[in-house]
Amino acid sequence: MAAQPYGLIATFDTPADVMHAAEKVRDAGYKSWDCITPFPIHGLDKAMGVKRSIVPRFSLAGGLIGFTTGMSMIWFMNSYDYPLIVGGKPFFSPLFAFPVSYELTILFTAFATIGGMFFLNRLPMHYHPVLKYDQIHRGMDDQFFIVIDSRDPKFNPTATRALLEKAGGKAITELEA
């Protein structure tokens, strides 16, 4: 018995084509599907119904942790663990602790942002059915694809193929799982 395919992939030649097709797939009620594009297309998120990214939440958390780490580290080191007397100045003041805390805020924000982006995108993922498609390199170069996952509740081999055809998709191919 042939294994169930991963889904269907259709090719489009221009950003406008893929965007209009994406609107149709979105309006048909599909949830588990994707567009493959060589570069981010302005407006495609909306056409796909993709919500605003939540990466900023990771960034905010990273920034807060970074700032707190800086302040508490300096307080612990210069005021608590080994009070350091320098020119009769206070052992701790947020003012002199600020530059280092500021840098750590940025450092932790950067790591959290990138970590959050990888986490949300489930990357690294070196094996993916889409990457097995023999024309996938064009999706990094100059073509645009729509992939509809067969696990989508609305997926139906004939109806989905018809939808992609009607939306202008070419070379509609079944992807092996």
Binding site: P38, F39, S59, G87, I106, F111
Partner: protein, 476 residues
């Protein structure tokens, strides 16, 4: 949607009918997506050119001077440098500030111009970011080795040690450790995130060309990127936030570098103008270096369609603007030295311009204040050779700026009996000369093995990438 604003333009705009000015093209000759991919990838995929090997071997030879200088320093002691009371900071710190400053243009291009939606940044940002990282590497050599006993350099970081004593966080030098290490780390992260989609392109191209090993290496770093729009959505947000945090970062790094001087009490150093003045100078020198590197690269690889005259114009204008800010800062320093009526401060500045180091001061003024003024003229900006020569003057001038600031103030301190005159030793000269080799080795490896331009970003700014174009005002 994007075109709705055309209809809803304020009435006043309809009345005055602003002239339709053609927007400068960012990619000349209406190149296709595939052409861009081919152009950028062919640089990596082609046979290694002979000139590359010549430059690489030459660069390795130059870099060996740094290795030799540092080896001799570590084996003998920091006394092999020309430092002596009262000048205990000299070429080491000059070179450190010089290299760190060069890095700033890369971050300015990748972060600040990204936030300001300056689309022309796309074709130069990858190489400029690479320049940043390699410049930070060269910069880091100097503070690490000028501590003398380099095997104790880890004392700079808050790592528990046998003395049970922690770093003094009241010191700007400690702030600098955090600023520079954060700057290096975040620059690498930003650069890497930008590279991911392009590494995926190379992964697929090498795979199809049958080169499984290189495909696997690029593929490993591409993280399995597959161009998914759901990924792009998070990716673009992450990129925007990285640009957002890199902007205050790049401004803070040279601010904190300037604190190394400004927080001291030395006349000529103890001035509040230092942070903005250093940042402007850093961007000025960085753009000088970007021009120095990009113009030959553009000529060798025939990238005129991607790095257009418009790009060169923009870079020249930023160099002009920041150079003029630097010139203003030089003037303002003198004004405040006079207006502040502090005799020591006044002496420090008179001594800079007319004392023992006047030659260095006037080289600085010539290179930094006069050179950029040529960029007012379109004829100059369109003469690539002249732009390149002027960019070299900018690099030289900015090195002298740091030399003038650091050495003149130290050589004439409060007590005339301790005045001195500093000259570098041959070891310092070797070490500094060699860093250009270190930088070139890294940069040559970069242009050989990584895409020197962000293909995805360039494609995104071409006219055919606009999904709304040619479809009128339909509603999405």
């Amino acid at each position: 949607m994007a075109h709705a604003s055309d209809h809803a333009a304020p009435a006043v705009l309809n009345e005055i009918k602003p002239a339709e000015l053609p927007r400068a093209k960012l990619v000349e000759n209406d190149r296709s997506f595939a052409w861009i991919t081919e152009k950028v990838c062919s640089i990596i995929e082609g046979k290694t050119p002979t000139w590359w090997w010549v430059c690489f071997i030459l660069a390795c030879f130059v870099a060996s001077f740094t290795v030799a200088g540092i080896t001799y320093l570590v084996a003998t002691g920091v006394g092999v440098w020309g430092h002596a009371n009262p000048v205990n900071w000299a070429w080491d710190i000059v070179n450190f500030v010089f290299w760190i400053g060069i890095g700033h243009a890369g971050t300015l291009i990748s972060a600040i111009l990204c936030l300001l939606r300056q689309k022309w940044r796309t074709s130069i940002n990858r190489a400029a970011e690479a320049m940043t990282i390699f410049a930070v590497v060269c910069a880091a050599i100097f503070p690490v080795f000028h501590v003398g006993r380099v095997w104790f350099a880890w004392y700079l970081f808050p790592i528990p040690n046998a003395n049970y004593i922690w770093q003094n966080f009241r010191s700007p030098l400690e702030w600098d450790v955090f600023a520079v290490s954060t700057y290096g780390t975040v620059s690498v992260l930003f650069w890497y995130v930008g590279l991911i989609p392009d590494l995926a392109v190379l992964r697929d191209r090498f795979f199809r060309a049958g080169n499984k090993l290189r495909s696997a290496i690029y593929g490993f770093f591409a993280m399995g990127w597959r161009g998914s729009n759901r990924h792009w959505s998070n990716y673009e947000m992450a990129y925007l936030i990285l640009a957002g945090v890199s902007t205050p970062l790049v401004l803070s790094v040279h601010t904190i570098v300037s604190f190394d001087f400004a927080v001291s009490l030395l006349p000529g150093w103890h001035t509040t103008i230092f942070p903005p003045y250093f940042v402007a100078g850093a961007i000025f020198s960085g753009f000088g270096m970007v021009l120095t590197l990009m113009l030959p690269l553009r000529a060798i690889y025939k990238l005129e369609d991607l790095i257009t005259q418009y790009h060169i114009d923009c870079m020249c204008k930023i160099t002009l603007a920041t150079g003029t800010i630097v010139g203003y800062a030089y003037g303002m320093e003198f004004f405040i030295a006079w207006y502040g009526a502090n005799p020591y401060e006044g002496f420090a500045f008179i001594n800079r311009a007319f004392g023992n180091y006047a030659w260095a001061y006037w080289i600085m003024i010539g290179c930094n204040v006069i050179t950029p003024q040529f960029f007012w003229f379109r004829k100059v900006r369109e003469n690539t050779w002249l732009v390149w020569v002027l960019s070299i003057f900018v690099n030289v001038g900015m090195w002298f700026e740091r030399f003038v600031i650091i050495v003149t103030s130290l050589a004439r301190d409060f007590l005339p009996s301790s005045w001195g005159y500093y000259s570098p030793s041959i070891v310092e000269i070797f070490t500094f000369f060699g860093t250009f080799g270190v930088f070139s080795v890294l940069f040559l490896l970069f242009i050989r093995f990584l895409p020197i331009m962000p293909m995805a970003e360039i494609k995104a700014v071409t006219p055919q990438a606009d999904a709304h174009a040619g479809h009128g005002h339909d509603k999405h």
